[in-house]
Amino acid sequence: MVEFWVNVFLVALLVVITFYIIRLKTLIAIVALSGAYSLTAAAIFVNLDAVDVAFTEAAVGSGISTILFLAALRYLPLEEAHQTRYPRLSLSLCIIVGLMLIIAAFELPNFGDPNAPAHLHVAPRYIEESYPLFHIPNVVTNVLASYRGFDTLGEVVVVFTAGLGVITLLAGSTLSMRFVKIENDLDKTNKTSKEDA
């Protein structure tokens, strides 16, 4: 019962935060509020017992994307541009797609339904076999690390390569800028020392 009301409250909070994100015009406040949004969404995942999803949401949504948005904000004006025309077409498209998604959601099995198709395929085998085989208490960790080990290795390689590329690009630019600045400073000091002499 407590869980249900906590969920209701958190989802209502998400709606309120989204409303303010749409209404506000100061970009930095919008970035801060979207950080709060994903922290709240992560709290919902914790409440639904999906702790690993909550970790990802908190790390990516609240941590990394806030910092990325802020890095992008340095190249943007501080206020959102004043909008004079209202895009009716996009609004109606959004409403139609949202309604279709809501209608589709009625077809989903209930939360925690043991007869849902996702729970009948390989899940019982994982739950029964995984602990005696590998002795890892968390089933999700067990599936990711043991049953799908190669898949996870591939994912880690992809993420590592992407991170390496981003670091090379960003660090390369700042390093060269720093060298240019050092050279300029050296030129200046040389000139002043010559003038002094």
């Binding site: 303010y20 100061t26 930095i28």
Partner: protein, 90 residues
């Protein structure tokens, strides 16, 4: 019962903080309010863990505290580096 009461208190304070984050006359009010929302949610997660008899949830709240701190630090660094000469933002 006691846990439910404290969760309710957390909910009330989150509502007040969201109002402050939305209305906040200066951007610093908003940043502080968003940081406090994170803190109250961390409190709520640990309380929720203890209420349901799963105190392992404290680990999650520790991670959230680190992320919340990092996010606030990033926003404040952005302020120091880019918006000091721009007075009309605050």
């Amino acid at each position: 019962m006691m846990f439910a009461a404290v969760l309710l208190a957390c909910a009330v304070s989150i509502v007040m903080l969201v109002v402050r984050a939305a209305k906040g006359p200066t951007a610093f009010d908003r940043i502080l309010a968003v940081n406090s929302i994170g803190t109250v949610i961390i409190l709520g997660i640990s309380l929720h863990g203890f209420a349901l008899g799963r105190p392992e949830f404290v680990d999650i709240s520790i991670l959230y505290a680190v992320l919340n701190f990092l996010g606030t630090l990033a926003i404040l660094r952005f302020y120091r580096s880019s918006a000091v000469d721009n007075e009309d933002i605050v």
